[in-house]
């Protein structure tokens, strides 16, 4: 993924605004759709995510059972699969957005400091980046989550911790080259304070490539969260997460496929949306 991303990541001179490619709009529609479902879940369904009705246990989807109050069927405990999918969107989106913001903020700040100011902070940060790039991120996330114990804030922290380096690498490289550009030199010649130069001149000009990294990372983080939830290392029951729904569904998959197929489809759809979004952003540049 990294090499493909790198291709479009040098800071580019301002170009006249082009029409955004189709992928961008489709991806945006999917992601925004999932966000809306997550936010308005309580208004979209009259079942709570933990409401059990054992009579409805493993009821098939509506087109086979004829019962439209359980459109996508029910799980082993008679909980409505569709409602749990809607509430599960909250976990996926919360983790994706928060860990991208946190990891992106931390990575950008450190990369910017290293790339712009140079000297020993840069040597330390550069070395940290080098070392962490040598770690397999998902593997490390699994190990840390296992040791820390599971909760939503911990999940966000750990995923931000294993992804900050992606942003730091790009921010550092771009800050290094922007530092020498005329508009930065000019600001310095005019006597602007360093902090002001960094925040008002350097940061805005290195932001577009970082947005692409953020979009790419969003799909990675969604997949990582789903995998951790599947392994039981994500958000804990009864809060529904799509990954844990797949793993709960496995015990009944030969008789009730709707318990594994629908949550997995939801993950794949959201990741497709995030990938279309990042693809569109890369093509635009």
């Amino acid at each position: 993924m990294t090499a493909a991303v790198d291709a479009g990541l040098a800071p580019s001179p301002a170009r006249p605004r082009q029409r955004r490619p189709l992928q961008f709009h489709v991806g945006m529609a999917i992601v925004v759709g999932v966000v809306l479902i997550a936010v308005f879940a309580p208004y979209l369904t009259h079942h709570g995510y933990a409401d059990q009705d054992l009579i409805k246990s493993l009821q098939p989807p509506a087109w086979r059972s004829g019962d439209w109050s359980y459109p996508l069927g029910a799980d082993r405990l008679g909980r409505d699969v569709l409602s749990r999918l809607m509430y599960g969107a909250r976990v996926s989106m919360a983790v994706a957005v928060l860990s991208v913001l946190l990891g992106g903020g931390l990575g950008t700040a450190l990369g910017l400091i290293g790339g712009y100011f140079g000297g020993w902070p840069d040597r330390v940060i550069g070395r940290l980046i080098d070392i962490q790039l040598s770690f397999p991120p998902v593997f490390i996330a699994i190990a840390i989550m296992a040791a820390l114990g599971q909760s939503l804030p911990k999940l966000v922290l750990v995923l931000a911790f294993v992804t900050w380096v992606q942003y730091a690498r790009i921010a550092r490289a771009n800050a290094l080259s922007v530092r020498e550009r005329e508009f930065v030199q000019a600001a310095r010649a005019l006597g602007a304070a360093e902090v002001r130069i960094v925040l008002r001149h350097v940061l805005p000009s290195i932001l577009p490539p970082l947005l692409v990294v953020g979009a790419v990372n969003m799909s990675n983080v969604i997949l990582a969260e789903a995998a951790l939830s599947y392994l039981g290392l994500g958000v804990q029951p009864p809060t529904p997460a799509w990954g844990s729904m797949v793993s709960e569904g496995r015990s009944v998959q030969s008789i009730a496929w709707w318990n594994t197929v629908f949550p997995g489809t939801a993950i794949a759809l959201l990741v497709i949306g995030a990938n279309l979004l990042s693809d569109g952003l890369q093509r635009e540049r």
Binding site: M1, T2, A3, A4, R127, D130, I131, Q132, S134, F135, P136, P137, V138, F139, I140, A141, I142, A143, I144, A146, A147, L148, G149, S219, L223, A226, A227, Y230, L231, G232, L233, G243, V246, S247, G249, R250, Q253, S254, W257, T260, V261, P263, G264, I267, A268, V271, I272, N275
Partner: protein, 308 residues
């Protein structure tokens, strides 16, 4: 060459130290490690004795130094659950994981590269459109879900392939396919883009103009150029394969280090988890070193000594 090698070795040592610190801290991240070693109703004096027994009454740096001294000798403590040295357990399971990862890389190379060259040479065709769409979906699928679906289809419904364990060579088919789908999609897309770009370049026009047939143009020029980014990305993806193999091994009950780590996690067997993380981290560093050496062979322009 010499300077490059010295640089890599110093990097390698840095990473290994970082891995060891992380592995050492894992046991402290979970709170007071003494809680894991003693029953809930243990008497205070027993807790103190266990604390002294494991050296947990000393300062953190002293404990780390002790841990490091043992780790260098390959002693990572005994697994609580299996009552065996953790290192031995991990090394026993390592071949199964290596086999699975290699099989996945094999599928990726044999499917992804030819497919990428093929559609890259006819960009814009219907075939290109279909393959691009399919590979796009491939890189968006959660691997554990794909594994569950493959089991549902090929093991439960069609009864063609075994769903779990490792008793015959047929058992590797589904896990290897599951693990390879993401990298296959990625490599196909990458090779397609590379080939498409290379075919527009002057040296390819020259090759065609001198009467070289299309097969030779693709094989000798386009493919060779595409190999460099392919090796880079495959190298980077090996980490994801290791992370992914934890998940895939869990889905298929594959007896590798990933599954061993999950068993360790479930039983709070921290020496075991530590040993897995340390061994896999070290393996990953070595693989990266090999990938760097491969560039030298693939691209004569890369000379690490000349400042590059």
């Amino acid at each position: 060459m010499g300077r490059f090698f010295a640089q890599r070795v110093s990097h390698l040592l840095g990473v290994l130290v970082a891995v060891s610190v992380l592995v050492f801290l894992l046991i402290h991240l979970s709170g007071d490690p003494i809680r894991l070693l003693t029953p809930l109703d243990a008497k205070p004096e027993d807790i103190e004795r266990v604390r002294r027994l494991y050296g947990l009454d000393r300062s953190i740096p002293a404990q780390y130094w002790d841990f490091l001294r043992r780790a260098v000798r390959g002693d990572l403590g005994e697994s609580f659950r299996f009552q065996q040295p953790a290192m031995t357990l991990v090394l026993q399971r390592l071949p199964a994981t290596a086999l699975l990862a290699l099989a996945a890389v094999g599928v990726t190379i044999t499917v992804g590269i030819p497919l990428g060259v093929w559609i890259g040479s006819r960009a814009g065709s219907v075939a290109d459109w279909i393959v691009s769409l399919v590979t796009f979906v491939f890189v968006s699928l959660p691997s554990f879900w794909l594994g569950v679906l493959l089991i549902l289809l090929f093991a439960d419904r069609l009864r063609l392939l075994p769903s779990s364990g490792f008793e015959s060579s047929w058992h590797i088919v589904l896990p290897a396919l599951t693990l390879s789908v993401y990298t296959t999609g990625l490599i196909t897309r990458l090779v397609r883009a590379d080939v498409h770009a290379v075919l527009k370049q002057d040296f390819v026009r020259t090759a065609r103009a001198k009467g070289l047939n299309e097969r030779a143009v693709l094989g000798r020029h386009a493919l060779r150029n595409a190999m460099i980014s392919t090796v880079t990305v495959l190298g980077l993806q090996l980490g994801n394969l290791l992370g992914g193999s934890v998940v895939v091994e869990a889905v298929f009950a594959w007896p590798g280090v990933g599954w061993l780590m999950l068993q360790g996690i479930q039983t709070r067997d921290l020496p075991l988890v530590r040993a897995v993380v340390l061994v896999v981290g070290a393996a990953f560093v070595l693989i990266n070193l090999v990938v760097d050496m491969l560039y030298l062979y693939l691209d004569p322009r890369i000379r690490y000594d000349r400042g590059g």
